[in-house]
């Protein structure tokens, strides 16, 4: 089965088409700019529901296109990114200011435009951002970042507040923008995995695997069964250490010092197990297009993981009876289901708001269809709900590894090389990582990557997060942020 159905529409029909897709209950996933020869086009990726191929809706880009953000709020950031990196304008975008390229920065030419002959460079120095005007008296402004306390990723956060109440909150990300999508252009598909693994360090597998799956889809490679199952094990190992980190941070922000230390030690143990399995604490340097670079000895896992699982369950049980911790989570950062859906929440953030969507179940890849998996869901929509679904995802990761290990048989770990190369091939790959859905769309021309689009889980969830901060309490901010479990590197790319 292919992964994509393609439909082309005229710009004048775009709004109507979007409306009818929404009426079908379809969900937009992302939008990006791609060139067909010298002609720019906007590609919208649409999820048509469980087990259906994804829909790729393309529209030939004119200098002005109607914004779909009113209909589909989650598309706003994609439109803004396209506006930053091209000449295209989406008329009617509700927040038409810079996103990826910060105020004060400029490009010498356009990153994805094949007709551009200029040397491409980003230059300048960041200046203060354009912020929404807050019409109230006695409002105070607080800028936090871009360089914050402790060891934290770079990001700048603006709070307009009165007393303890936050009226309006604006995250300013993308300081860390590395332009990785453009770096991948003209690379050969096999070596691209090295960069894909480094888009987000703690998302090495969800990014690396989505990339491999996209290339394998384009080149029609059949990944051997053993490699598929080992990939599941890698992905679930990633889920384990990330979720342990999550609980350590949540304990930290609720000032539960011992709980923080426990979580951090469990995370350390999980990383050391990663090293035992792969030689790398972040599971890097094992994935390859077509399978794996080398075979892994998964026989060691049942014994070492059973101790970790026991201690993780004990840790979660202890947290679940700690009143001071629960009190800080209950009712914090509420996110209603419809808002979560419209603004694109994914992974545990969506699951905590009652949205039962998980790519491992609804669009299974890498043999997840052979494993039994319950999607954890809560309807509370608050920090507690988000932490509970994380806890269940953590425990189910151990179970999935056990299931995958039982199915493992000796065998090949790499696909045979393709016999012929099509001149032009498109592929789509996706994974459900610890933070939610990750998509890679690739176009390969004459054996080289022509365009790679990366959609990380955090890019989606950062778009949603501010909605839970407006009108909340300063004191709860850090807890709420921890309950979203966001990273910045993946969003910034």
């Amino acid at each position: 089965m292919g992964t994509l159905v393609k439909v082309q529409v005229a710009a004048s029909q775009l709004l109507n088409e979007a409306r009818s897709l929404l009426q079908e209950g379809y969900r937009f996933q992302m939008a990006y700019l791609r060139y067909m020869g010298p002609v720019p086009e906007i590609v919208y990726l649409v999820d048509r529901g469980p087990n259906f191929e994804f829909l790729e809706l393309t529209v030939r880009a004119e200098t002005e296109l109607p914004s779909l953000s009113d209909l589909v709020p989650l598309l706003s950031w994609y439109e803004r990114e396209i506006m930053d990196l091209s000449d295209i304008i989406f008329t009617g975008n509700p927040e038409p200011f810079p996103l990826v390229l910060l105020e004060g920065m400029a490009l010498t030419s356009l990153p994805f435009d094949p007709t551009s002959k200029e040397i491409l460079q980003l230059f300048g120095d960041t200046t203060p951002p354009q912020l929404p005007e807050v019409l109230a008296t006695q409002v105070q402004d607080l800028f936090w970042g871009p360089i914050r306390g402790d060891v934290l990723e770079t990001g700048e956060f603006h709070f307009a507040y009165i007393g303890e109440e936050i009226l309006h909150y604006t995250p300013r990300l993308f300081y860390k923008h590395r332009g990785i999508e453009q770096d991948l252009q003209q690379q050969d598909p096999e070596s691209g995995v090295i960069l894909a693994e480094r888009v987000s360090g703690v998302g090495t597998i969800c990014h690396g695997l989505a990339y491999c799956l996209a290339v394998e889809d384009a080149l029609r490679l059949d990944v051997p069964r053993r490699a598929q199952l080992l990939r599941v094990i890698l992905a679930e190992m990633e889920r384990i250490y990330n979720n342990l980190h999550f609980f350590s941070m949540l304990s930290k922000t609720t000032t539960l010092k011992v709980g923080e230390a426990f979580g951090a030690l469990l995370e350390e143990r999980a990383k050391q197990i990663n090293a035992q399995l792969t030689g790398h604490r972040f599971l890097r340097n094992v994935l390859a297009v077509g399978g794996l670079r080398r075979d892994l000895n998964a026989d060691i896992l049942p014994t070492i993981l059973s101790n970790l699982q026991r201690d993780a369950i004990d840790y979660l049980d202890s947290l679940s009876v700690t009143q001071s911790y629960l009190d800080r989570l209950i009712g914090t950062g509420p996110l209603p289901a419809d808002v979560a859906f419209d603004f694109g929440a994914t992974g545990p953030v969506a699951h905590g708001s009652g949205i039962k969507r998980d790519l491992r179940v609804h669009h299974p890849y890498s043999m997840y269809e052979r494993l039994s998996l319950e999607i954890p869901v809560r309807t509370g929509g608050d920090a507690l709900a988000r932490s509970q679904v994380r806890g269940e995802a953590l425990i189910s990761a151990f179970d999935l590894i056990r299931q995958a290990t039982e199915l493992l048989e000796p065998g090949e770990i790499a696909a045979a090389s393709p016999t012929s190369q099509p001149e032009l091939a498109d592929g789509l790959g996706w994974t459900e990582g610890p933070r939610g859905s990750c998509f890679y769309a690739v176009r390969i021309r004459n054996g080289l990557l022509e365009r790679v689009k990366i959609k990380s889980a955090s890019f989606s969830n950062w778009k949603v997060f501010p909605l839970t901060v407006h009108s909340s309490n300063m004191m709860d901010y850090a807890i709420n942020e921890a309950s979203f479990g966001l990273t910045i590197a993946g969003a910034d790319r």
Binding site: L152, E153, K176, R178, D183, G201, K257, A261, F282
Partner: protein, 269 residues
């Protein structure tokens, strides 16, 4: 209601004694930087040069017109691809990871070149920071892998505080600026402003392969080519990411509390 204090006490001590004593640095089974012995190369072989994704290998012509291959660990991301590509035993996997060095030159395996250790720094730093060291971290475009390992320094296993090393929220109290990431264009300004805000004397650590050379992000419109073109660097800690033990080694090396193990690209066991 859970009694976390009791739970913590019951769990006992989790902290490693390394590096003061013992071998448990948490690096068991990790694959480290490849070892390179150019004298074992097949004549005119270019396999590693062609395969390395970060262009860590280069050729140079010696006095006798013989071409030789050099390896720069400052560009190496431990991906192990060259080891698989090498037709001889010149490149081999190793478990060597604590590569922190005081000089950029020490990261290069280059037949014939000598180690040039930075003695000047040695005398300058050790006289200043006897007891404790305060570190300001700046993420200049990392993938967050390096942050994840820097955060691991505070976990009970590594417990950085026992070594008198602390991360500070403000550059005004910092002795050391520890930079991660390749220094992308949008981070240059904030990075330099942080450095300016630090009191003197101040020292700079490049934490990870990214800030040493920019690799693997030294390309495109928004990559970086590392820290050295912006600031004087005192300690280089290669790795993608450096392990927590490698970070600790680098921090202790700055204050001369541990020995440098890499000299002219050669590693002392």
């Amino acid at each position: 209601m859970k009694n976390w204090t009791l739970k913590g006490l019951a769990a006992g001590k989790a902290t490693t004694k390394w590096p003061a004593s013992g071998e448990n640095d948490g690096q068991d089974k990790l694959l480290g930087f490849p070892t390179f012995h150019p004298q074992d190369c097949r004549p005119a072989c270019r396999e590693c040069i062609l395969k390395c994704p970060t262009r860590a290998f280069s050729t140079k012509t010696g006095v006798d017109d013989e071409e030789s291959v050099a390896l720069d660990y400052g560009r190496c991301i431990n991906c192990q691809i060259c080891v698989a590509s090498c037709p001889t035993t010149a490149l081999q996997s190793s478990s060597n990871l604590t590569f922190a060095s005081k000089s950029r030159q020490d990261l290069v395996v280059d037949e014939g070149a000598n180690s040039r250790e930075n003695d000047e720094l040695q005398s300058r730093v050790s006289s200043i920071f006897k007891g404790s060291l305060h570190v300001r971290h700046v993420d200049a475009g990392s993938c967050n892998g390096c942050e994840s390992e820097l955060q691991a320094l505070s976990n009970p296993f590594y417990n950085l505080h026992r070594l008198g090393i602390f991360f500070t929220p403000s550059p005004r109290f910092a002795d050391v600026l520890l930079v991660t990431g390749p220094v992308v264009p949008q981070m240059k300004g904030p990075l330099l402003r942080t450095y300016e805000a630090m009191p003197r004397p101040r020292f700079v650590i490049a934490g990870g392969t990214c800030p040493i050379s920019g690799a693997p992000f030294d390309m495109g419109y928004s990559g970086g080519s590392g820290l050295e073109i912006h600031l004087p660097v005192d300690i280089f800690i290669p790795g993608c990411p450096p392990t927590p033990a490698a970070f600790i080694h680098g921090l202790l090396l700055l204050t001369d509390r541990i020995n440098q193990r890499l000299h002219g690209g050669g590693y002392e066991q």
